[in-house]
Symmetry: C2
Subunit: 247 residues, 2 copies
């Protein structure tokens, strides 16, 4: 293979790396264009929530142009959160978990999250943007940061090299991404090793109501799979998962 795969564009400050990447994709930038911002003023999380993104953290979005069937799109988020979790574990020796679909945890504290947006056009994905936010060198007391959040520098007691971590994640993600068309079982198997609450009783909120069941894993389409109290196996594509503490 010749030439570089990743085109990394760095910005001091952006509203959101998602919006910048979306804009670049619309004007025809190449696949694996990566937008990195030192700081985001309007970083987004899932479900329209704000993502606090001060200097020090690793905030980036990647432009992808998946040729595979759009039904596999959720696996892009699955592959990305897995890449982040594995990268942190391998580079820093910290045990990581992935909370379905795309949050990265260390113990019970969130260190990062992944967001996937895509433009669908008549049966095909025109492009997808994967956004990653990792609390690397974020000060834990930073205003607005979720009380349950933590950062790598806080846990390790030292500064993280964002650039090095970014490249490590990108290399990993690229490998998994190429597996989506026909080696999904590989991604799923590795994701399950990191999956939070696996084999535990969880509840999942869907449009305001809760579904209870034992968390069995994820399926071939990136959906969460639970066995409910009546023994039915359910595959869900959205929802917030929480552990149920039985009294």
């Amino acid at each position: 293979m010749s030439g570089k795969v990743f085109e990394i564009l760095r910005f001091e400050k952006l509203d959101s790396t998602m919006d910048k990447a979306f804009e670049l994709a619309k004007s025809g930038c190449g696949e694996w264009t990566v937008v990195v911002a030192e700081e985001q003023s309007m970083g987004r999380g899932r479900r329209g929530r704000k993502w606090v993104s001060p200097r020090g953290g690793l905030w980036f979005s990647i432009v992808l142009k998946p040729k595979f069937n759009p039904i596999f799109l959720p696996l892009v988020g699955i592959a990305t959160s897995l890449s982040c979790a594995e990268a942190i574990e391998e580079k820093f020796g910290l045990k990581t978990k992935v909370k379905w679909p795309n949050d990265v945890y260390i113990d019970s504290s969130k260190v990062g999250g992944v967001l996937v947006e895509a433009l669908y056009r008549s049966g095909k994905v025109e492009f997808a943007i994967v956004g990653v936010g990792l609390n690397t060198n974020v000060h834990p007391q930073v205003k607005g940061l979720d009380a349950k959040a933590t950062s790598l520098s806080r846990l390790l007691g030292r500064e993280i090299d964002n650039e090095e971590l970014l490249e490590y994640i990108l290399d990993k993600l690229r490998e998994y991404y190429l597996m989506i068309p026909d080696q999904r079982e590989n991604i799923i198997r590795r994701y399950l090793k990191h999956m939070m609450f696996k084999d535990e009783i969880v509840k999942i909120s869907i449009n305001g109501r809760w579904i209870y069941g034992k968390l069995l894993g994820i399926d071939d389409l990136g959906r969460i799979v639970i066995r409910d109290e009546e023994g039915y196996v359910k595959h869900l594509n959205v929802g917030e998962v929480e552990r149920v503490r039985r009294s």
Copy 2:
């Protein structure tokens, strides 16, 4: 039910009703906002092709916010082209066909097409834009119009009331749209009645190569279903369909 369902916004001239609707959807407009342009300077067809849109035609885009599983999104295009075909047949007594996925034909001439774009965000469709272009009062010799295209006014020898036709289509589409979550077989059955080349031998171009087979219909996800020469049944989600003339 109270209040009107459709919010119809009319413009003299737009680059594309798709872009305007997309912009409105991004800034939070309501579902069933409909953008109509007298004329489009950069109307789009499928696969990035230009759609010639001079004055006289019916060019519009609809903002939808589907709550159903994103895998059913192709059925929005299926439902829309079906609505156009049925509306033309019922209002004007012209026999119509739908060429999979979303083109509307009368005999072997194209009178319209449908395009679906959507913004996907972490497992959900944030919004979908359905674009419709119908050659109602377009002069058949209009510069740039495909030689195989025709118009309703040409076939009927009279002027078409665009506003009336638009409302007829919207009412129909709304009915079908509400069937997508759990009455898809209803949409499919009606679509099959209008489906071009059904039960004939066709070829479908996919990434430059052709797949041959007998066209059996469409499935629950809006994919075209063919039985290939070796007897295998294949479900395809993109491609251009052509009839094969056996010599």
